[in-house]
């Protein structure tokens, strides 16, 4: 046995897992707790507020962003499925699509944020705005992080496909899992912040 770490591409027989698959799920578990703390903050702050604002957020923009993110989840999973079918070209198309949809999401967020700022609605204004900016801000940072990873796999990281297609496919799968989680968080964020 040399210094090679096993189970990067093939699954370990008794656990049925690759290292990266277990690793990304554990990371997502920690992310659940991270966003969980912020949701708990939301609950406590709302309980302690004499009144909770309504109508300060643009529901239609939020809904549009929800559609955008769901669509990006579809394109992301298709990017991985294309690799499983051996179609590298389709994979790149879908991955690019995911990247562009995420950019659109962030552009919308930029418009939302700037409209708040110009009206003086800053995080310091109320606990509602504070938790709104923090939750969506942290979520937005996660989108940005995902975009950086996607850009890597569209760019220099794509070389791995020719060297080790199995490992590349796995990495796209893990990226997808992360991305679906980001979508999942927004599925809860949207109604909690914009609707309730």
């Amino acid at each position: 046995m040399s210094m090679e770490i096993p189970y990067i591409v093939e699954e370990r027989p008794d656990t049925g897992l690759t290292n990266g698959k277990l690793g990304i799920w554990l990371f997502l578990a920690s992310e659940v707790m991270l966003f969980g703390a912020l949701f708990s903050t939301y609950i406590i702050l709302r309980m302690g507020a004499p009144e909770w604002p309504h109508g300060e957020l643009n529901v239609w923009l939020g809904m549009a962003n929800t559609f955008i993110l769901i669509a990006s989840s579809v394109t992301m999973v298709m990017a991985w499925a294309s690799l499983k079918l051996g179609d590298f070209g389709k994979h790149r198309l879908y991955l690019l699509g995911t990247f562009l949809l995420s950019a659109a999401f962030l552009v919308n967020k930029y418009f939302e944020y700037s409209s708040h700022w110009t009206r003086g609605e800053l995080p310091s204004h109320s606990t509602f705005l504070a938790i709104y900016f923090t939750l969506t801000g942290l979520h937005g940072l996660h989108i940005l992080g995902g975009m950086i990873v996607m850009a890597y796999f569209l760019g220099p990281g794509a070389k791995l496909y020719t060297k080790n297609p199995g490992q590349f496919t796995n990495r796209i799968e893990y990226t997808g899992l992360y991305w679906h989680f980001v979508d999942l968080v927004w599925i809860f964020l949207f109604p909690v912040l914009y609707l309730l």
């Binding site: 656990t15 049925g16 897992l17 698959k21 277990l22 799920w25 554990l26 578990a29 659940v32 707790m33 969980g36 703390a37 949701f39 708990s40 609950i43 406590i44 309980m47 302690g48 004499p50 529901v59 809904m63 929800t66 559609f67 769901i70 669509a71 989840s73 579809v74 992301m76 999973v77 298709m78 499925a81 499983k84 079918l85 003086g120 800053l122 310091s124 204004h125 109320s126 997808g176 899992l177 679906h180 989680f181 979508d183 999942l184 599925i187 809860f188 949207f190 109604p191 909690v192 609707l195 309730l196």
Partner: protein, 113 residues
């Protein structure tokens, strides 16, 4: 899991269908919001729809519906931790001794300090 073309193609069909379903539930959740339900009811309905959507993403897109025991185990622990974090601080604040003091927030123009 998927190893042959046929089963992958079937799963791809499922992905598109779930995507459409998610779109539909999003529209429903916004529509329900236009009906002004009482707050506890509104929260319940919104959470039910969100959990439905979330489960679809988790079980199909993230293929949790046929994952391994270790992943399930880690996630169950996480869900327990999540529920504890959501509920217990709230319970400690609802169950308090003494009379709460209510102070009106001072009028703040732009919230600076």
């Amino acid at each position: 899991m998927h190893s042959d073309q046929e089963s992958i193609k079937k799963t791809i069909r499922a992905y598109w269908m779930i995507g459409a379903a998610l779109f539909m539930f999003t529209a429903i959740t916004v529509a329900v919001n236009q009906v002004h339900l009482a707050v506890p009811m509104a929260i319940t309905v919104a959470l039910i729809i969100a959990i439905t959507k979330g489960s679809m993403v988790a079980s199909v897109f993230m293929h949790l519906s046929h994952e391994r025991k270790w992943i399930y185990g880690a996630l169950i622990l996480t869900v327990i931790g999540f529920i504890v974090l959501m509920t217990v601080p709230m319970f400690t604040m609802m169950d308090h001794i003494g009379t709460p003091i209510r102070v009106a927030a001072p009028a703040v123009e732009h919230g600076g300090h």
